[in-house]
Symmetry: C2
Subunit: 411 residues, 2 copies
């Protein structure tokens, strides 16, 4: 029998308890022994909860209990989660967390402490909710040189974009609906401005390519500027707009960024709708593999946490070697070198002159048209070029101004 | 350094060698030591191959070499693969195989021998080619009570159905094209009659629900009877026809079968096109998760084999507990009890009388129409009922005969 503790009894933490109780028999069989919740830390009271006798408001009751061998952190944020997780690892307890902010900010340090103490620090639930992605990325794709990982990592913004694409809802209407349905928080900035997708991109990049990537190294653009005109322009380009977190290896360094991106309708992830997540992994042997499912939600996320707990129970003696190295300020390449095509909406008084100037500047552009566009709109796809080269050409434009610019995905 | 041997230097076997050489650095890092190909068994000569000095035609050179700790079986079939794999496990060598026929026929026995000898027997590549599915199903979904697994498991037939759906190719034309492109063998029966999907369904069912399922227990229907009229009828029902291998738990027993099935266009796996595979896992906590990628091909399959090799290198001392129990003739429930709706194409002289009789028999049916149907066609969707109940009602029909019947999926 293995005793565990849960830090934080919010949505995910209580879901973890629920899954452990509901599926106890199957879990004990998988783990080859019983898993018992010995302690739960929360500052709130839950006197009606059958687990209430386990509750404590004092972290010392957990970190100093030698019988507790695994601690689940589902508090979120950094303020308490970081010192608590660190203290647990330093005191001989393996840790499972669903806290993407913690892993993105402190993953390298916590993985190192776990390694020094021959413990496990696992966080499958921090990316893709219930979708198994980190373990397959680490283990099943071990035979591949992974070259790129790209995904729809935030369910709230994907829900909003789906409503904008399929029902022509405005951004504001879609946000209101997401809030009414409980998908978006009252302060939705972490979702719509991309911080959540950025943290998950950091974790995917760190694991895929072996060195820690910090959120401040990942150029991040959310969906607040995406308009219904952009949605229609993407459709004219046979694509859909998705908020994509993306990382690509380039020699010993990487690119990593988050941006609304035009995904071809034929892509494996173009049909990832509503609150679902979809993550594409590209390897040199395997080609493209996609993992797809609910990226959030109490029970899906909790089931990923519990799967990690089971894995830690099975590896109490022999730690798993999930690990990545220290980061470096120069590790993530400046976005200026990233090669991509763009879908541009331009405003031009003389549209023919604009197309002529673009053609002269880029050699060739693909000119598109769409119904409902402003009379002065020129809609084009540029050739694949380093971003700084395209920027320079667009900065020099005399016949038009850029209204919006979206990268075109090549997957 | 760990020495391995490869049995069979065909497409997959030579791909395994290629991946091990090409990605040697990354693989050694993941495995935490070098992996060296010590021996390759094949009856053919490959004098131009740089690995030619390793080749042998004598299995004894491998099974009796105490320095070889892992054997990769990529011969296919049962005749040699079964005694060779068994001998390897009995002689202290862990085994990796891509051979679905072997696992479907002998998985329980080989897993038991591996367990008795504290060895590993892994076969990720046997289902879904390069797609990580068995390990996530076993590990990441450990916290779930899995209730159902359903998938597009055969790339060749999915390619053919895609051509029939999107380009109105006939079955014969689609088969010819698949053969010309090298997707289908000259004797395509294992693909088009469903035996390949059946074996993969056996493996998924055995792993998901814990007891061995044999091919002869899985009612299997291929795609040879699927016509363009069926494709059009499915479209009228807002669906597409896919060859689905499916298994569902029902108390202590299971259903398992392979059949062409109408998948709603909104389903997570409706858009799995061409030679791709897509596998849906339904769990009580996680909801639906889908794994998607290339289900076959030299390098994708080889990369899955190599990932298993790496995993075995990391578990030379502490075996993984991937395992399932013995099968039982009564374990798989007769299909007669399976509850499903059907899409029926009927031939009726008096169509109004037929609809009236169907309505009287089923309480309610959904009547559809489509362009291009024969004048006497009645197209309906029946309510969800046990198959034997629907069969009885259809057997009693006086006003019409059944031209074709396809199950409607509920995922």
């Amino acid at each position: 029998m293995v005793k565990i503790a849960i830090l934080g009894y919010g949505t995910v933490g209580s879901g973890v308890a629920e899954v452990l109780v509901k599926n106890a028999a199957g879990i004990a069989q998988k783990a080859e022994q019983e898993i018992r919740i010995a302690r739960i830390l929360d500052i709130r009271d839950f006197p009606e909860d059958p687990l209430w006798p386990c509750f404590t408001k004092n972290f010392e009751d957990i970190v100093n209990d030698p019988e507790i061998s695994i601690v689940v952190e589902t508090m979120g944020g950094l303020k308490f989660a970081y010192p608590f997780v660190k203290a647990c690892l330093e005191n001989g307890k393996s840790v499972v967390t669903s806290n993407k902010e913690l892993v993105a900010a402190k993953g390298d340090e916590l993985l190192e402490i776990a390694r020094e103490n021959n413990l496990n620090f696992l966080f499958e639930a921090s990316v893709g909710g219930g979708i198994p992605i980190l373990r397959p990325l680490d283990q099943c794709l071990a035979a591949n040189e992974v070259t790129e990982v790209a995904g729809i990592l935030n369910g709230t913004t994907n829900f909003m974009l789906t409503k904008m694409i399929e029902e022509q809802m405005s951004f504001e209407e879609a946000l209101k609906l997401a809030q009414d349905l409980g998908y978006a928080e009252r302060d939705p900035s972490a979702d719509i401005e991309g911080a959540d997708a950025c943290r998950k991109t950091c974790i995917l990049a760190s694991l895929a390519f072996g060195r820690h990537v910090f959120p401040e190294q990942v150029q991040t653009q959310g969906i607040t500027a995406v308009s219904l005109d952009d949605v229609a322009a993407a459709a004219a380009a046979d694509g859909v707009i998705k908020l994509i977190g993306r990382t690509r290896r380039e020699g010993e360094k990487i690119y990593a960024f988050v941006a609304p991106t035009v995904i071809p309708k034929t892509s494996l992830i173009a049909d990832v709708r509503d609150v679902f997540n979809g993550i594409l992994v590209r390897g040199n042997a395997i080609g493209d593999v996609v993992f797809y499912g609910r990226g959030a939600g109490k029970l899906p996320t909790a089931s990923a946490v519990v799967a990690d707990v089971i894995d830690e129970v099975k590896h109490l003696e022999n730690r798993k070697n999930l690990y990545w190295g220290k980061g470096d300020p120069d590790y993530v390449l400046p976005q200026s070198g990233f090669e991509t095509a763009w879908l541009l909406r331009l405003s031009a008084k003389d549209k023919d002159a604009c197309v002529a100037e673009l053609t002269a500047a880029f050699g060739e552009v693909k000119v598109l048209s769409r119904e409902g566009a402003a009379a002065d709109e020129v809609l084009v796809i540029t050739p694949v070029l380093p971003e700084s080269v395209t920027d320079k050409k667009l900065g020099d434009l005399r016949t038009a101004s850029v209204v919006s610019a979206l990268r075109m995905a090549d997957f």
